[in-house]
């Protein structure tokens, strides 16, 4: 298929997204929405021994870039510890997708945000210490959710 907008990797993830669907009994969930276009992403994680993300799933209401971002985030985070997963940023996501059109960069941020929100949810549920940066990030995302009126 000829597509000048998206890379082959984006199309491949979009065509066959990895790890999509709702997870039964997740350890934690990250729910985020995109203030720019209205896309919404839910990310479920199951955390095992030594803080390892042993399973991860997503549900996304959004465009090609949002769906492929979600898919690649699950690939990047699976098997990593929570600390390692927190280091996954939008740059790494864009790189793993073989690039995104600049107008779609916000979709990669959505993926990174969903992951950090899931980790935040896990740490707060388990009454663990929340790193300062994660707390700040969570507050920004919460503020955006109010603007978007996303139901939790």
């Amino acid at each position: 298929m000829v597509n000048n907008i998206y890379s082959k990797k984006v199309i491949s993830h979009f065509r066959n997204p990895h790890n999509y669907g709702k997870m039964k009994n997740p350890s934690a969930v990250g729910k985020v929405g995109n203030i720019l276009c209205g896309d919404v992403m839910y990310l479920y994680i199951k955390v095992g021994e030594n803080d390892i993300i042993k399973d991860i799933k997503f549900e996304t209401f959004g465009c090609v870039a949002a769906i492929s971002t979600s898919s690649v985030v699950t690939d990047l985070a699976k098997g990593k510890t929570l600390g390692e997963a927190l280091k996954i940023d939008s740059k790494e996501i864009v790189k793993s997708l073989g690039g995104l059109p600049s107008i779609k960069y916000h979709c990669s941020l959505l993926g990174a945000d969903a992951l950090s929100e899931a980790i935040y949810d896990y740490l707060s549920k388990n009454k663990r210490l929340i790193p300062k940066e994660l707390q700040k990030r969570h507050e920004r995302i919460e503020k955006e959710k109010v603007d978007l009126k996303i139901n939790n």
């Binding site: 298929m1 998206y6 199309i11 209401f61 870039a65």
Partner: protein
């Protein structure tokens, strides 16, 4: 359908392929009949004759006189000429005009012209009474799109035309989507200015026209050699205009039968698509162009649907924010009352001359699967 099967094009409202009969009519005007219509020698005069013959054919399709047709380069240009060319203090448009009317009106506003943008009902129709109320003493022009390029809704053009005529206000209609597809009579409909385009009716790109009723005072945008009765200086793009005229001739001959055929296909499409749970039709079920249907699907996003269909070699379009350069949902869909998240799942299907029933059947076979898959991915609607 196998992978080797041909592509299915359901985006005729965006543009159409040139009819082979049109290409044939155009070919001599690139080589042997290449003259400049302004030259007095035989090369020029042959070109001039072809130009005037084309003018007659185009005029004939809308009941106009040949000298009321000004050839331009695009519908955008025609719309710019109409809105900027009639000099006045106040104009009235609708909220669902094509961007080239919207942006021209925005520009005029910056120049000090006042613009009234009338709302539409949930089917996308302007209430003619709203126009009646909005017309002021200093109103120069009312411009209302004949049929919506996005949802296909047809306006009550005759009523609007009558009101404008009674109030002594120029009436312009952007007929880029309707011209050649449904009957238009500029006299019966009291139209003073009308925009029509070649590439929407199986003619080439680069040719369009503005009908300017005799007596309408309008100033050109382009100044120069004085072609097109002084309203559009530029060397005439004769091959494209000859093609445009041929496309009009074919459209006139085949309109009745073709619109019946497409209406039948369109109605089958609408009826079947609406069987998908949580799918909705935008615009009127009936008072719409024979070839346009616009749906929205809850819980999923339009660009994703378009690309899933493209992977199956089916070409359609969407009004979703994700596919727009501004990341905003279609203002037409918002104007008919859709919420942004509803417009997110929009899908426009537009049929045309080469659409076969088996194409519709194939589309109807694959669409529910695509919707189902995207809903499995979506957090909503479970």
């Amino acid at each position: 359908m196998s992978k080797k099967s041909k592509k299915i094009y359901f985006d005729y409202a965006a543009t159409t392929p040139v009819d082979p009969r049109v290409i044939k009519a155009m070919l001599p005007y690139f080589g042997e009949k290449f003259g400049n219509t302004m030259s007095i020698h035989s090369f020029g005069q042959d070109a001039k004759i072809a130009l005037e013959k084309s003018r007659e054919v185009v005029a004939d399709l809308i009941g106009a006189k040949p000298n009321e047709i000004i050839f331009t380069g695009s519908a955008t240009e025609s719309n710019n000429l109409a809105l900027k060319g009639v000099k006045g203090k106040h104009i009235i448009i609708s909220q669902i005009e094509h961007p080239c009317i919207m942006e021209t009106a925005n520009w005029l506003e910056k120049q000090g012209v006042e613009v009234t943008r009338l709302p539409v009902n949930k089917y996308g129709q302007v209430n003619p009474l709203d126009i009646q109320k909005a017309i002021r003493k200093d109103t120069i022009l009312v411009s209302i799109i004949h049929a919506s390029n996005e949802i296909g809704t047809i306006q009550l053009i005759e009523k609007i035309g009558r009101i404008c005529r009674q109030r002594g206000v120029y009436f312009h209609t952007d007929a880029a989507q309707s011209f050649g597809k449904i009957p238009i009579d500029v006299n019966k409909m009291n139209i003073d200015l009308l925009t029509a385009s070649s590439h929407k009716i199986y003619g080439p790109k680069g040719a369009a026209c503005l009908f300017v009723r005799e007596g309408v005072k309008i100033e050109p945008l382009l100044h120069g050699g004085g072609q097109e009765m002084g309203l559009r200086s530029s060397t005439v793009n004769l091959p494209a205009i000859v093609g445009f005229a041929k496309a009009c001739e074919i459209a006139k001959k085949e309109m009745k039968k073709e619109s019946q055929r497409l209406t039948k296909l369109r109605d089958k499409l609408i009826k079947s698509v609406l069987k998908i749970k949580n799918s909705h039709l935008a615009g009127y079920p009936e008072k719409r162009l024979p070839n346009i249907a616009n749906f929205w699907f809850s819980f999923i996003e339009g660009e994703s649907i378009v690309l899933q269909l493209d992977l199956l070699r089916i070409a359609v379009s969407t009004g979703s924010a994700c596919s727009s350069l501004k990341l905003e949902p279609s203002y037409v869909l918002l104007a008919i009352g859709l919420k942004p998240q509803e417009a997110h799942g929009s899908l426009r299907i537009s049929l045309g001359r080469w659409t076969k029933e088996k194409d519709i059947d194939y589309f109807l076979k694959v669409l529910p699967k695509i919707v189902k898959k995207l809903r499995e991915i979506s957090p909503y609607g479970k």
